[in-house]
């Protein structure tokens, strides 16, 4: 009797594992297939509009050549500059903020955190109108949208301190204390003890700050206000899928998607380890 149950358990386990493998394969296919489609369609040259098949009848580089001849280069450069600048500046600001809120106990700390929590409940969209007007008074809209977008993106990034604060909270406070007894100033504690231990969260912050601008759409569109020279890739490529352009530009959009996605994805996969650590270490604790 006992023996039988034992065998049954094993068989059951095998069956459930098989079911899981099947499910996982289905999931992988479902999750990857749109990206495979984009890649395939970017090489389709017989037509530029949406069709009912996936494998191109005629292969070619025409879509990529179209891309090269369009404003896409400019958009790509714009986005790249924004991404690079925010990767540096946002990281500095967020780390300053989260380190301070994790490590220092000053009088205004509690009220400050509560204040930012409340501030975060206002839809950010609301502030776009005025920020646009302010930027336009400063001459940082339309063709000059890039510095304007960097300014606004960086300026309010301090609010996103939760994840890295969660990480800093996991570093024992006694390390700070030991270092302070050892003669380190607060700055030296940060520089010599905490930062070397925070590699995962620093890389995570850089990575997310770099990736953010690639998908930034709403405000970027607002600030560029129809001036192609100020577009980023999202705004520019969105315009290709509007009703009057999609028939001509659909496959070019696919090619652009590939050009945008591939470098970011490669970078991401290289640093995947840190991203996972950041998400699992900091995000949940918030």
């Amino acid at each position: 009797m006992n023996q039988k149950r034992h065998m049954g358990l094993k068989a059951l386990n095998r069956a459930s594992n098989t079911a899981i493998y099947i499910l996982l394969i289905i999931i992988s296919v479902v999750w990857l297939i749109p990206f495979v489609f984009i890649l395939l369609q970017s090489f389709r040259v017989e037509s530029t509009y949406q069709v009912g098949y996936v494998i191109p009848h005629q292969w070619g580089w025409q879509n990529y050549i179209n891309l090269w001849n369009s404003d896409f280069k400019r958009w790509y450069l714009n986005t790249f500059i924004i991404a690079l600048a925010s990767a540096v500046l946002v990281t500095v600001i967020q780390l300053c903020m989260s380190y301070t809120l994790s490590r220092f106990r000053f009088k205004l700390r509690g009220p400050l955190m509560r204040f930012m929590l409340i501030l975060g409940m206002f839809p950010g969209m609301l502030t776009m109108i005025i920020l646009y007007r302010v930027l336009s008074d400063l001459g940082l809209t339309q063709a000059n949208a890039v510095p304007g977008l960097i300014l606004v993106g960086v300026a309010s990034s301090g609010m996103g301190y939760y994840v890295s604060k969660g990480f800093f909270d996991t570093i024992p406070k006694s390390l700070d204390e030991a270092a302070r007894v050892d003669g380190a100033t607060r700055f030296q504690v940060l520089y010599k003890i905490i930062l070397p231990l925070s590699k995962p969260i620093v890389i995570y912050t850089i990575l997310t700050a770099f990736m953010g601008p690639w998908g930034d759409y709403v405000f970027a569109r607002y600030v560029a206000m129809g001036t192609s020279a100020g577009y980023n890739v999202a705004v520019g490529m969105y315009s290709w899928l509007t009703n009057d352009q999609i028939a001509r530009m659909y496959t070019t959009f696919c090619a652009g998607g590939v050009i945008v996605a591939v470098p970011v994805t490669i970078l991401f996969l290289c640093l995947q380890k840190y991203y996972v650590e950041g998400v699992t270490g900091g995000a949940v604790k918030g």
Binding site: N13, N17, I20, Y21, L24, I27, S28, W31, L32, P34, F35, F37, I38, Q50, G52, V54, I93, Q94, M97, R103, F104, F106, M116, L119, M121, F122, P123, M125, L126, I129, I130, R133, V134, A155, S156, G158, M159, D169, T185, R186, M211, G215, Y217, V218, Y238, I246, F253, C254, G257, A261, T265, F268, L269, V279, T280, G281, A283, V284, K285, G286
Partner: protein, 512 residues
């Protein structure tokens, strides 16, 4: 409601336990809200008494202070300069000079205009030299409001700095009287990387938040009390002005809106309902399915764990606008899915993914699952692996099967740890602009609601509606502000209830 003691509770039947818990949950809500308002009252009381004692302290500082202190009441930083703290003194003095200059050369002017938001709009004037009429622009309501807000910020900052200046004099006198030495400039600079390092670190981020988040929000809250819109842009066509609570009345009135459509409040209610349903579905489908996928990958005996994980994680890297736009077009009337299904002869008519309200709503939720699962998989994987293995071992010895282990161990543990995350995720989904806007743009159009403001669709969330209001033909900024404030109220209400009722919101320090 009757309160049970622990032992009494244990004797209740299952149904009674459930009703007891449910009622105590709901009775806790008003208590939580009451608590909130009591707290607000407490803060106000604290603030009033605080101001009183501050004033008293300022008075006594003046009466008891020496001539250096007294001079500092007018010339900020004088006390510091006279007592050898050159650096601090110069900073105070500099701030005062800048403030006075600003007030003289603009601040006072803008402040005086705030009550009216401008008196003279643009006018056509005859130019006798050129013999034509030219438009002369006069007051600018937008700038008046903007600089008015800025000036108020500046005045508050000045009062605060002045107060610090006075207090410093008092402290300096105390230190000198007790025979000790004042801090030298050198010490002040050194303390910026040590005792006061937090102030140094926060200076830049907080300035950014103040200027680019707080000020705009204050501004936009004020806009809700004006008639600022496309035809009252405050400069080139008409000035805008204060209208009191009119806009709130408009939003909450039950009479029909412009163009014979339904009332604003009905439209608002419809969109709010869908926003809440969406946020609920989006949060919990992702949460449970993500956990499910994570558990499948984590299961003992499953190989290639890294591969499965990487496949999913990779999709996070691809910018959302690409995947969302592409998928949106895939499901379009003449998109890949409809075309290929028709080619295969499985359907005759295209499926109305984006044309039918229910289809569109379901599709949006499904695609959101596709977007969200990888992220949730990552988060839950980390927590799942942290559940102590001996919990499962002891459960297995107690005879729990896989489902019972999940129900009794995994799920409670997960919910406990991720409680705060679920809340932020819920409010985040309420404001999930990208997914809705890039997938449907709010479509399909809701003809009844669209009369009110902008073209409202069945998948529109409050946040996309707000966006449409500001970018539509008449750009009803004032209405957008009111809607924005309402979004805040809803989000704050939900957060408040959850924070006060859920026991699992833990003390922050417990983690450290």
């Amino acid at each position: 409601m009757k309160q049970y003691s622990d032992l009494e509770y244990l004797r209740l039947s299952k149904g009674q336990k459930f009703t007891y818990k449910l009622t105590s949950f709901f009775t806790a809500i008003p208590r939580g809200i009451g608590h909130f308002f009591a707290n607000i009252g407490l803060y106000i009381k604290k603030g009033v008494t605080g101001v009183g004692s501050e004033l008293k302290d300022i008075g006594s500082t003046f009466v008891n202070g020496d001539w250096k202190t007294k001079t500092s009441f007018v010339v900020m930083g004088f006390g510091n300069l006279a007592r050898g703290q050159i650096l601090r003194g110069l900073l105070f003095l500099f701030f005062e000079v800048v403030f006075i200059a600003y007030m003289i050369f603009g601040g006072a002017h803008w402040m005086s205009m705030v009550p009216s938001l401008g008196k003279v709009g643009p006018s056509n004037e005859y130019d006798p030299v050129l013999d034509i009429y030219t438009t002369v622009y006069n007051d600018n309501s937008f700038k008046i409001l903007l600089y008015g807000v800025l000036t108020i910020f500046f005045i508050v900052a000045f009062i605060y700095t002045w107060r610090v200046n006075v207090r410093q004099n008092k402290i300096m006198e105390q230190i000198l009287r007790s025979g000790k030495k004042l801090k030298a400039d050198k010490d002040d600079l050194r303390s910026m990387v040590d005792e006061n390092f937090h102030a140094t670190l926060l200076a830049l981020p907080m300035t950014g938040i103040l200027v680019f988040t707080v000020m705009p929000i204050v501004f936009m809250i004020l806009v809700a009390f004006t008639n600022y819109d496309g035809s009252h842009n405050g400069y080139s066509n008409n000035l805008f002005t204060w209208v009191g609570l009119d806009n709130f009345n408009t939003l909450f009135s039950w009479t029909g809106g412009a163009g014979g459509g339904q009332s604003y409040s009905a439209t608002f209610g419809e969109i709010l309902a869908w926003t809440l349903i969406w946020a609920f579905l989006a949060t919990f489908t992702n949460y449970f399915l993500g956990m499910f996928v994570a558990m499948m990958i984590n299961k003992k005996g499953i190989h290639l764990k890294k591969v499965w994980r990487t496949v999913l994680v990779m999709t996070i890297a691809i910018p959302q606008f690409i995947s969302l736009l592409y998928v949106s077009k895939m499901f379009a009337r003449n998109g890949l899915i409809n075309l290929s299904l028709m080619d295969l002869g499985w359907i005759k008519q295209p499926l109305p993914f984006w044309e039918d309200a229910t289809w569109a709503r379901v599709t949006v939720v499904l695609i959101n699952i596709w977007i969200g699962i990888p992220h949730l998989m990552l988060i839950t994987t980390g927590i799942l692996m942290n559940i102590p293995a001996d919990l499962y071992e002891s459960a297995r010895i107690d005879g729990a099967n896989a489902w019972q282990q999940y129900r009794k161990i995994t799920l409670p543990y997960m919910l406990f740890i991720t409680g705060p995350y679920l809340l932020t995720s819920f409010t985040g989904n309420m404001n999930n602009f990208n997914v809705i806007y890039l997938l449907t743009g709010g479509a399909p159009t809701n003809p009844a609601a669209s009369g009110a403001a902008g073209s409202v669709g069945y998948t529109d969330l409050l946040i996309t509606w707000l966006f449409k209001i500001t970018t539509g033909a008449d750009s009803q900024y004032y209405l957008a502000s009111v809607v924005g404030i309402m979004v805040f109220v809803v989000v704050a209400f939900i957060s408040l209830v959850v924070y006060n009722v859920l026991p699992s919101i833990k003390n922050e320090e417990d983690y450290q």
